[in-house]
C-alpha cells in the first residue's frame, strides 16, 4: 500500500511544487490542506505516514499544528517536517522543541526534500 503524506501549506503553487517533488520520488497518496483547519479535518480520516507543514499560516499557525499532532497519542509518532522560509530562529527552535522531526528551509532543492522523505518513510 502506498504511503500517505499530508501537506499543509497555504500557497497553492508551493503545495503543487512539493507534490510534484514527492511524486517524482515514488507512488505516494498525497493529501493537501490549504490551512491548519483542513489539516485538523484530514488527520482523523487517514493514517498518515508523514506530515509536512508550513509555519506562517492564517488562523492556526504551523507551531500550533505541530503541538496538536505531537501531543495527541494517536498522531504523535507521525514524522513531521516543517517547511518554512528562513526566518525567526526562535520559531524554528520552538518547532523542533514541540517535536517536529526536521526543519527544511525554503527555497529547498528537490533532493533535500526527497532525502528527508526517504529518511522518514523507510
Amino acid at each position: 500500500m502506498s504511503k500517505k503524506i499530508l501537506i499543509t501549506e497555504d500557497s497553492p503553487t508551493m503545495r503543487a511544487m512539493i507534490c510534484a517533488t514527492l511524486e517524482a520520488l515514488g507512488d505516494f497518496d498525497i493529501f493537501e490542506a490549504a490551512n491548519g483547519f483542513e489539516a485538523l479535518r484530514l488527520l482523523p480520516r487517514e493514517s498518515f505516514d508523514l506530515v509536512i507543514t508550513d509555519i506562517n499560516m492564517p488562523d492556526i499557525n504551523g507551531l500550533e499544528l505541530v503541538s496538536f499532532i505531537k501531543r495527541n497519542d494517536q498522531y504523535k509518532t507521525i514524522p513531521l517536517v516543517i517547511v518554512s522560509t528562513e526566518g525567526s530562529e526562535r520559531d524554528r527552535e520552538k518547532g523542533l522543541k514541540l517535536g517536529a522531526n526536521a526543519y527544511l528551509v525554503k527555497p529547498f532543492s528537490p533532493e533535500e526534500l526527497q532525502k528527508l522523505v526517504e529518511k522518514f518513510l523507510e
Partner: protein
C-alpha cells in the same frame, strides 16, 4: 529547483500577481490607518504573510531578484509587525515602491523568465528602514504570567509580541477553552473568534484533542481584551465553552467559571457529524483556472448554440413539411435549448470577477499620481462588488486608467487654487460601479475644474472639425473631445499626454460594445459614464433586414420595436424624428447609413423602427424587416477591419450565414454628431 515547466511558471505568476494585488490593497488600508493612529495587527500580519509567501515562492522558482526584494520587504514588515519599525509616510511610500517593482518583475517574467530589473536601490532603501532597529534581547517576559507552558510554546515570535502589546495597553488576558464537533469546528470557531475580535485581539488559537470525544476538537484561544471577565463570558456564552482570566503569578486569578455549565453533553445527534467521505469532499473548494481554458469552453458553448440553431431550424422545417417526428424533434430541441442556456450561464458565471480588482489598481494610481503632481485627492469607491467578465475587466483597465489620469492631471486643481476658488483643499474622485439589467455602468466623477465648453468649441473650429457658425448643444460639444487628436490640455503633460487621446478610450470601450458619455460643469467637475454589457461572447440578438442584407442588434440594447406610418415622421434641423410618448426620438435610417441607393417607393409605406437605448439615450433605427430573435456568437472583426466603426463584430447564424452585429453604443454617439455614413 531551476528547470521549471512553463505551466508551473504560469501558476507561480498567477499566485504572485494575486499576492501583490492583496498586498497592495492591504497597504492602502494600512496607509489610511496610519493617519487614524492604531494599525490593525491582523492587517499587519496579513501584509507580512504576503511578502513571506512571495519570498518563499520566488526562491523556489530561482527568481533571485524577486526573492531578494521580497526578502527585504519581509524583514521590514516583520520589524513593523513586531513594533521594531515605525509606521510613517516614508515607510509606506518605500513599501509601495517595492511593490511596484515587484509588480514589474512579475509582469516581466511573464514575458520572459530572463527579465530583470536592478532591485538594489529599493533593497537599500528598505535596509535603511531597519537600521538601528536591532532586536533588544529580552529575558522571558512571560515568566511572571500565569500562562500554561503549552500555550506559550506555540506562540510565534509575532504572537509573543502581540501578547506583550496587549499587556502594555493594559488589557486583560483571557483563555477561552471551547470544544466543537469535528464536522463544523471551523465555522463554529470562526463565530467565536469574530465575537472576541469585536472587543479585543485573538492572539493565538491552539487546537487540542485533550478531554474530547473522538469526533470533537478543543481549542484554547488566547485573547487580549479591555472587557471585564463577566463581559467576555457573556459575549461568548455558549455550550462547551469556558473563559478563564490569566493573572500574574502570586495574584489570585479569577475563578475559572464555565459560561454555560459544561456538564451538558458534548455529543451531537449522530446524523449531524457527517461521514468521512462527505468531509473529504468539502476541502479545497477553490480551483484556479487559466482564462484561456474558459475561452475554449466558451467557444465550444458558442458552437453548440449555433448547432442548436441549425437543428432547431431543420426540425421546424420537418414539422412544417408534415413529418411525424418533426414535432418531437422540436420539443427535444427546446429541452436542449434550455440546458444549453444553463451551461452558457454557468460558464459565464465562472468568468465573472468583481470590479474591485480593477478599482484597487485605480486606487493605487490615484494615490501615487496625486503625490507626484502635488495635489491632494481622496478617492471614493462604491459598488466594487459588481461583477463583470474577466476579459472585459482587463480590457477596461487602460481606458479607465486614462480617464483617471485625466481627472488627476487636468481635472482636480492644485490645493492653493482650490482654496482660492472656495473649494475644499482635498479634491475628490468618485469611482462607482452598478449593474443595470444586462449592463454594468461605471461612473468616474471628479470635483475639479470641469471642461470649458467654449474652449473646446474654439479648438474644434481651429482644427476645422466644425464650422465657425455651427450651433452645438453642450452635449455635442463634449462629444468633440472624443475626436482623434483632440486634446483640451494646453500643453501635453508627462502624465496624461502620452499621445493617447480620448478617441482611443472611446474606441477601446466601443470594442467592448460599450459607450462612454461626458458631462461637465465648469468649475464644478466632470463625470464620465461608461456603459458596458456584462458579457461579450454569446448574446441574444434581434435579426433585422435592411434591403437584401441581414444584421444583428444585441437584444440588451433593444427597448422596443414599432411600426410607423410615414406621416408620423417630422423633420427637425434636417433630421428625421418621431414623437414617442411625449418625447422626441431621432431616427437613423440604416439604408442611408450604409449608403444604399434610394428605392423608388421609399416614403410611401409604413416602416419598422427598432428603438435602441443605452445609458439615458434613445435612437430609432429604421429597418425593412424584423426577422426574430436568435442567439449569436460574436466574433471580433479582426485587425484588418479594426478601423470599421459601427459594428461590434460578426456573427454566424444557424443557417451558416455570417452577418454583422451592429454596435449600438457607437451608432448612438456617432448619430449625435450626425453626418455619419458607413460603407458596407
Amino acid at each position: 529547483m531551476t528547470e521549471k515547466s512553463s505551466q508551473a511558471i504560469k501558476e507561480f505568476l498567477g499566485e504572485a500577481e494575486e499576492i501583490l494585488e492583496n498586498l497592495s490593497a492591504d497597504l492602502m488600508e494600512l496607509g489610511e490607518t496610519m493617519e487614524t493612529g492604531d494599525a490593525n495587527p491582523d492587517l499587519l500580519n496579513s501584509i507580512f504573510r504576503g511578502a513571506h509567501s512571495l519570498k518563499g515562492l520566488s526562491g523556489m522558482f530561482g527568481f533571485v531578484d524577486i526573492a531578494d526584494l521580497s526578502h527585504q520587504l519581509e524583514s521590514v514588515l516583520d520589524g513593523l509587525r513586531l513594533g521594531k519599525v515605525n509606521l510613517d509616510r516614508v515607510l509606506i511610500d518605500t513599501l509601495f515602491e517595492a511593490l511596484e517593482i515587484l509588480g514589474r518583475l512579475v509582469h516581466g517574467k511573464g514575458e520572459s523568465s530572463d527579465y530583470t530589473i536592478d532591485v538594489s536601490p529599493v533593497v537599500k532603501n528598505l535596509e535603511d528602514m531597519l537600521k538601528g532597529k536591532a532586536d533588544q534581547g529580552r529575558d522571558d517576559p512571560f515568566a511572571d504570567l500565569d500562562i500554561d507552558r503549552s500555550v506559550l510554546d506555540v506562540l510565534t515570535e509575532y504572537e509573543e509580541h502581540r501578547l506583550l502589546e496587549n499587556l502594555k495597553k493594559g488589557r486583560s488576558l483571557y483563555r477561552v477553552v471551547a470544544s466543537f464537533q469535528l464536522a463544523t469546528f471551523d465555522t463554529d470557531l470562526a463565530e467565536v473568534t469574530e465575537l472576541l475580535k469585536k472587543d479585543g485581539e485573538v492572539i493565538s488559537t491552539l487546537p487540542s484533542s485533550d478531554n474530547c470525544s473522538e469526533d470533537a476538537i478543543a481549542f484554547q484561544i488566547l485573547v487580549g481584551s479591555a472587557l471585564g471577565f463577566e463581559e467576555i463570558g457573556a459575549l461568548v456564552a455558549r455550550e462547551n465553552l469556558r473563559v478563564e482570566k490569566i493573572g500574574h503569578k502570586g495574584k489570585k486569578p479569577q475563578a475559572a467559571a464555565p459560561a454555560v455549565p459544561a456538564s451538558r453533553s458534548t455529543e451531537q445527534p449522530a446524523g449531524k457529524t457527517g461521514d468521512a467521505t462527505a468531509s473529504m469532499r468539502s476541502i479545497s473548494r477553490m480551483v484556479r483556472v487559466d482564462i484561456d481554458k474558459l475561452d475554449v469552453l466558451m467557444n465550444i458553448v458558442g458552437e453548440l448554440v449555433i448547432a442548436k440553431g441549425t437543428i432547431g431550424e431543420l426540425s421546424e422545417r420537418l414539422k412544417h413539411e408534415g413529418h411525424t417526428l418533426g414535432g418531437e424533434l422540436v420539443k427535444a430541441t427546446r429541452i436542449l435549448e434550455r440546458r444549453l442556456a444553463e451551461l452558457q450561464k454557468g460558464v459565464m458565471e465562472v468568468r465573472m470577477v468583481p470590479i474591485s480588482q480593477l478599482f484597487d489598481k485605480m486606487a493605487r494610481v490615484v494615490r501615487r499620481m496625486a503625490g507626484e503632481v502635488g495635489k491632494k485627492i481622496s478617492l471614493e469607491i462604491r459598488g466594487a462588488e459588481t461583477e463583470l467578465d474577466k476579459l472585459i475587466t482587463e480590457d477596461l483597465s487602460d481606458p479607465l486608467l486614462h480617464i483617471i489620469r485625466n481627472a488627476i492631471d487636468h481635472g482636480i486643481e492644485p490645493p492653493d487654487i482650490r482654496l482660492a476658488a472656495g473649494k475644499p483643499e482635498i479634491g475628490r474622485i468618485g469611482l462607482y460601479a452598478m449593474q443595470k439589467g444586462n449592463h454594468v455602468v461605471i461612473e468616474i466623477h471628479d470635483d475639479g475644474r470641469g471642461i470649458d465648453g467654449e474652449k473646446v468649441r474654439r479648438k474644434a473650429i481651429d482644427r476645422g472639425l466644425i464650422d465657425e457658425n455651427a450651433e452645438l448643444s453642450q452635449e455635442e460639444i463634449f462629444e468633440l473631445i472624443f475626436l482623434p487628436g483632440f486634446s483640451t490640455a494646453d500643453k501635453v503633460s508627462e502624465l496624461s499626454g502620452r499621445g493617447v487621446g480620448m478617441d482611443v478610450v472611446k474606441n477601446n470601450i466601443s470594442a467592448l460594445s460599450g459607450m462612454v458619455e461626458i458631462s461637465s460643469r465648469l468649475g464644478e467637475g466632470t463625470t464620465m459614464v461608461i456603459t458596458l454589457p456584462i458579457t461579450l461572447a454569446i448574446i441574444k440578438a434581434l435579426i433585422i433586414r435592411v434591403r437584401d442584407k441581414e444584421f444583428a442588434i444585441p437584444i440588451t440594447s433593444v427597448m422596443e420595436t414599432l411600426m410607423i406610418e410615414r406621416p408620423a415622421v417630422r423633420t427637425i434641423e434636417g433630421r428625421e424624428v418621431i414623437e414617442l410618448r411625449q418625447s422626441t426620438l431621432p431616427l437613423l435610417r440604416l439604408s442611408h447609413l450604409f449608403n444604399y441607393p434610394p428605392v423608388v417607393d421609399e416614403g410611401q409605406n409604413p416602416f419598422f423602427v427598432v428603438v435602441v437605448g443605452m445609458a439615458e439615450k434613445r435612437l430609432g433605427l429604421v429597418v425593412d424587416e424584423l426577422l426574430g430573435q436568435q442567439d449569436v456568437v460574436i466574433k471580433p472583426l479582426g485587425n484588418v477591419l479594426s478601423f470599421v466603426r459601427g459594428f461590434a463584430g460578426a456573427a454566424e447564424l444557424g443557417n451558416r450565414k455570417t452577418i454583422l452585429v451592429l454596435d449600438v453604443g457607437s451608432l448612438m454617439s456617432e448619430s449625435i454628431r450626425g453626418e455619419m455614413s458607413l460603407n458596407v
